[in-house]
Amino acid sequence: MTDHDDEQGQSLFAAPPMGEQERMVEAILFATPAPVTVSELTGRMPHGSDPATALAHLRKRYEGRGVRLVRVGEAWAMRTAPDLGYLMQKETVETRKLSRAAVETLAIIAYHQPVTRAEIEEIRGVSVSRGTVDQLLEMGWIRFGRRKMTPGRPATFVVTQEFLDHFGLESARDLPGLKELRAAGLLDNRPPPGSVPGPGETSDDDLLAADDEQSELFEE
């Protein structure tokens, strides 16, 4: 739709040299604590700029430095090198102590996303308290995903960019052990033969649908 505009812009205004573009990306990323998406960079840089290439150059430039350029989902940010963490004053708020239930729920959402409350309960074998989910939502580590196309259209949960940022993950695909877990079939939503007691009882259809959507999410 905007192809036309782009062509026009490129002919009218020459994009800045790549070295300049790199400086611009550097300045923008240094200025902002939150990760910045490529499209936001495009929006803030002069017309015709190629932030993706500039990011690649910049990433190389900061390799081995005290700060690094890291990818967070679809966005990029500058972060200090983890090996220098000991130099920092830890006056920054310590990670709030998460309950075991909250940590487990978070892991299940991260590895099974998009996942419904019923599926979380099925995996943990107990009902998920409102407080647990609320806490994770409030921390900004999880959010609501698309509703499932199953009866009742249940809401799903997915992890956020902030979650990725906090744990230094480039994407949900980089979760530790994800491949192994999937290979072992432990991320399958295997329908129970007959019914299993527990509050997280889920119908076969839900589970099968969940499996489809999950593979959709991770295969890109």
């Binding site: 604590p33 830890k90 892991a107 991260a110 943990r124 432990l186």
Partner: protein, 265 residues
């Protein structure tokens, strides 16, 4: 905390271990996140790979725990008892030869699924531990400490919900003046209606009469209705003339059209 209940160096005598475990469990039942969590904890006493676990043995351990709780008159939450009932059922299925009459899943299938659930829960716990062991923001790596003053430029993004959309559509479809595919007959007087009306009146038209006097009363004042009624009455007059029932005359262009009953001499 619950893991500490089980000394990894304890004698491998499973019945002793199970009894000790059951006692410890009763004391600490509040520390468990439901029956599946407790089963997972119990399964550790078997000291085997979760994939090789004996579900039968596990079921027995769990049932023993529930028995002990009953002896001590401890109240267990309902889901622990539901699980106990299910495990008792599973145990009978595993021990008794399969009933060919019965359709449901076999004991082995049920046991395999329970083993899968336990393994999956354990895997999620391990994954959670691995996650927490990663470098974390604010602990191992840090964000920019002095953010620049960033000027805010407002951009408006428009949004709507499915409800807005459906309500908008419903609003359109119920709007009174909007009926695009239903012909609005309110202002229409059809030829059939005119014919029917005139057939009843024509017997009285012995003298020349302006056809406008045949218009129904409620179609005289409103211009749209009058136009429709006039056209229909005129067409009906022609039809009646064709049938030989009336005569029509008009003295000059745009003069009133008159008709009277045709005399049959």
């Amino acid at each position: 905390m619950t893991e500490e209940l089980f000394d990894p160096n304890a004698p491998s005598d499973s019945t002793v271990a199970a009894r000790l475990a059951a006692e410890a469990l009763i004391i600490d039942v509040d520390g468990f996140e439901g029956p599946l969590d407790m089963l997972l904890t119990l399964s550790r006493t078997q000291k085997v790979d979760l994939r090789k676990i004996s579900i039968l043995q596990l079921a027995e351990q769990y049932l023993l725990f529930v028995e002990r709780a009953k002896e001590l008159r401890l109240e267990l939450a309902a889901d622990y008892l539901v699980m106990a009932a299910w495990l008792a059922f599973l145990k009978s299925r595993l021990l008794l030869p399969p009933d060919p009459e019965e359709d449901g899943p076999s004991g082995e299938e049920l046991a395999a699924h329970l083993a899968f659930q336990l393994e999956r829960l354990q895997a999620m716990r391990d994954a959670a531990a691995q996650l927490l062991a990663r470098d974390q923001m604010g602990r191992d790596f840090f964000v920019r400490g002095i953010p620049e003053q960033v000027e805010r430029v407002r951009r408006v993004r428009y949004t709507a919900t499915l409800l807005d959309l459906m309500q908008g559509y419903a609003r359109l479809r119920t709007k009174d003046e909007f009926r695009p595919f239903v012909l609005d007959r309110e202002a229409v007087f059809t030829m059939e209606q005119a014919l029917e009306r005139m057939r009843g009146l024509i017997g009285f038209a012995g003298t020349w009469t302006d056809i406008s006097s045949y218009l129904p009363d409620d179609f005289r004042t409103d211009a749209k209705r009058r136009r429709s009624a006039t056209a229909a009455t005129f067409a009906a007059s022609l039809e009646l003339a064709k049938e030989g029932k009336v005569e029509i005359r008009q003295s000059e262009t745009f003069a009133p059209i008159e008709l009277r009953r045709k005399r049959h001499d």
